[in-house]
Subunit: 237 residues, 2 copies
Amino acid sequence: MVTAVASDVKVLGSWTSPFVMRPRIALNIKSVDYEFLQEEFGSKSDLLLKSNPVYKKIPVLIHNDKPVSESMIIVQYVDETFTGPSILPTDAYERALARFWAVYVDDRWWFESLRGVAAGKTDAEKATALEGVTSGLALLEEAFEKLSKGKGFFGGDTIGYLDIALGSCLGWIRVTEKFSGTSIIDETKLPNIYAWSERFCSDPAVKELMPDTEKLFEFANMLFAKTSGAAAAAPPK
Amino acid sequence: MVTAVASDVKVLGSWTSPFVMRPRIALNIKSVDYEFLQEEFGSKSDLLLKSNPVYKKIPVLIHNDKPVSESMIIVQYVDETFTGPSILPTDAYERALARFWAVYVDDRWWFESLRGVAAGKTDAEKATALEGVTSGLALLEEAFEKLSKGKGFFGGDTIGYLDIALGSCLGWIRVTEKFSGTSIIDETKLPNIYAWSERFCSDPAVKELMPDTEKLFEFANMLFAKTSGAAAAAPPK
């Protein structure tokens, strides 16, 4: 779907980062061609340092030489700038709910729990983190009923803002399942999220971008080997 | 400007919280009457528990019985729902920049630095936090030049999204100045931010809401006395 053609849209990122996947999915939804500039692991390009001097982090979207940083801010920018299917709901209250849960995914669920399943220093810490992951997903399972209104995605008939926020994490959830030896997205306990995750991964805007679990697992193990322990198994934001 | 009349808009909050001030300023800008429901310190009302079951935190805006949580999400909701002056910039790129810096204020500047000036356990920790506060404000001083385009606010001629995000913290900056015995918003070092802070505090949408520094200082000291130390001197988000 996306070809690296000369274009006025560039994304600086890495295939391993869920946060980088977000703007790429948004651009796919809007059928915008862009150039993907892969940052080398362990180094930062001059373009990245110049484009995001505050955080020096991927992803960065560069549109007509103007950089935008922070994955969900980029998704909003893409939604507001390019024509095509709406990513945020059109209703203001539904927009607020989508934003609320997207912040929950990042601030509470990912950073306080998902990272900890691999990064926990003790088995007890890892178990607590895993408990946080599953209880967070139980909340999202419930939210799905309310937000999707019987349709296939949090955003309704098509992938929306919260779908992108959570769905971009699915590759790392699968890696975390391998690390922990448990089924996190359990078909029986989380039927909504389970079916949604299948739909999300096979969506044309997503499927080429979702990393292969084995390859991502290898990458995570390489990170283990390069760092002092499991602390870096989940990628930085 | 705002009177506690029967209305379909309610704000659950506390006068001491900068995060609560945000939706209130937004509602003032839009000339929306609302009922302010003060949460008692140390307890949570049934309405709060019901309205924000995930975080159980203020502020919550309740509009026609529908709750919205997270201060800057509420500000966006208010902007998108009520007529009146725009709070977010109308240009998509400028909106992205305002959102970027507002996230910076919350995630990096407030939580990693401002809280630490009082909450640091050692003098060295406090000094590091104070250094973070001043270097963060130096970045915002620079951003002001770019975003305000020679006008009085980050948002241009009138108070906008980033003005609300940062300006709501001014009461706690002044309390932090008292705790640390230093001038944080120094007229010589931060001329833009200094002049902006004066304009912000005297704006009709803000001036009745900005807490008196002495009163807030007393509240902070009360918090010290009730908790094990300085860790709680800055309010939770």
